[in-house]
Symmetry: C2
Subunit: 319 residues, 2 copies
């Protein structure tokens, strides 16, 4: 269990900290990177030693946030995790920092309270918004670089202000960052507009293989190992495929089935107002939220599709 603290106490703790290691989560995304580097730059600006650590490489598309960063070797005296809901998500760094994480700054209601102290704002769209409030409380100068970190966290975690978590406060904080002077055009372009050729090829194959049931109310999109191999898609080309079937007009339940090398299918279910994704996946020992849930099936593709369609038909009224 963590001791819950507020923004002011968090700011005071960081103001007193020395030689700070900032941990961000595996498969790092814009929010964990943005939050982590915003804190890094603020600590460096007041003469502290700091570094960001991640078990995975930072994807190339986030490199504009790292231009002013330098790696520094030191023995950490204070360890803070940002946007990390569970210490499992530290990957190989979990064992390195086990029991030594002083503070966690997060926005996930599901935080497992692995850190000594926890600043949690579960109603915020992005951890970067929690971080922005902490930095303001620390009287940190919000430079363009820090503002780009915060903006990147906000825009990536809200799907560029498209998701329901992008409320008025989110827009206002983004506007504050823009007024500092940031390259938001370049950021949005590289976050939301650029796809690799392999990704485009994979999308094309996935669309070709899409199957419809119940008069178009169910759409199933298999992503097989063969498609992944043939398209040349890498792990970071696979992000954001799950919403595709549900985006088609008239679809109540969209199912993405990703084949894993061992023959298992990792299944993502997305629903609109007419169906409960979590109720569907619970039937198959999975779980999640009402609009997005998941489960796993170990069987042939055809059997997995049949199982999903049967389960949906039995769970969703009038489908």
């Amino acid at each position: 269990m963590s001791r819950m603290i507020d923004t002011a106490a968090t700011a005071a703790m960081l103001a007193n900290a020395q030689d700070v290691v900032i941990l961000i989560h595996q498969y790092p995304d814009g929010d964990t990177i943005g939050s982590g580097y915003a804190l890094y730059y603020a600590l460096r600006a007041v003469g502290k030693r700091a570094r960001v650590e991640c078990c995975d490489e930072i994807p190339e598309k986030y490199e504009y946030l790292l231009d002013s960063a330098r790696a520094e070797a030191f023995e950490p005296q204070f360890v803070v995790a940002v946007d990390v809901a569970d210490d499992k998500l530290l990957g190989s760094l979990k064992d390195v920092y086990n029991g030594r994480i002083d503070l966690c700054i997060d926005h996930h209601g599901s935080n497992t309270e692995y850190a000594d102290y926890l600043l949690l704002k579960a109603d915020y769209a992005a951890a970067a918004m929690v971080m922005c409030e902490v930095l303001r409380e620390m009287n940190a100068t919000l430079t363009s670089t820090i503002a780009e970190c915060i903006y990147t966290g906000i825009s990536t975690d809200t799907g560029c202000f498209k998701y329901s978590n992008a409320d008025a406060y989110t827009h206002r904080m983004a506007a504050d960052m823009m007024e500092i002077g940031i390259r938001y055009d370049m950021i949005n372009r590289s976050m939301f507009d650029v796809k690799s050729r392999a990704r485009v090829e994979l999308e094309r194959m996935a669309l070709s293989g899409m199957r419809f049931y119940r008069n178009g109310k169910i759409a199933v999109m298999p992503i097989t190992c063969e498609m992944i191999r043939e398209s040349g898609a890498a792990e970071n080309d696979m992000e954001g495929l799950a919403p595709m079937p549900r985006q088609i007009e008239g679809v109540w339940v969209g199912v993405t089935m990703r084949e894993k090398p061992g023959g298992e299918f990792k299944i993502s279910v997305r629903t609109g107002n007419h169906a409960d994704a979590s109720a569907i996946c619970k039937q198959l020992d999975g779980g999640g939220h009402i609009r997005a849930a998941g489960c796993s099936l170990m069987m042939s593709l055809d059997d997995a599709i049949q199982t999903m369609v049967d389960t949906i038909v039995n769970t969703v009224d009038r489908i």
Copy 2:
């Protein structure tokens, strides 16, 4: 030539107007519909007769903005065009209201000044933002319905806050609308997330036919009459295809070639920092902006592709 007026003068003019016809542009989009209906509801709320007129049907996906609207027959005493840069864009209504348009409220720098009076804010992302300022100046009550009209205009004209025109002021005005209480989640979903099956099929075919030149720096995507016929795509399924080739990593110049029934190709060129789309299209008697331009070619598909690639290679350095 129009007489240019400011927001206060526009508000005063509308406050005195009776029996108002509001004209919006052909192939109506979220901004012209949102701006037009925002004004309609504000005028109705103070007991005036008003109606919105468009030469085309309002697409079904905007119907949530029309729920409280009622058609009313009356002889217009005041005619205002909103988000209409050129009276040609009134389509069949141009002749009906020729020389009778009292006022235009717009955000296009290219406005042709066909109305007696013009309120123009060319640096605003959406006409809905100009309208919002007018309604505030009129002391109109910004109801949820009006706020949804304004938000729809802003979000559609900025690609859901993705384009460079979405500046800090744009975000703040959107936040103001959200605080009034609007269904922004539903709006963003239906504007940006839903595609028809025909559209998905057309995208799949278009991706299959994409061709790359100059080491992937040029991408050409033909959309043939056959693809349109086979996919079953309607005119409103064709929106927003032009950016697709340029979204692929490494592409400097993205070309979309849409075959028209007579055998002509309508060509859209999109570029990044490395190339000038307008310079390319000028070589072929077309024109446009530095990042987005167009031209037409009357020849076979293969010749049209060869012509485009040759022109690009001759116009763009180091491609």
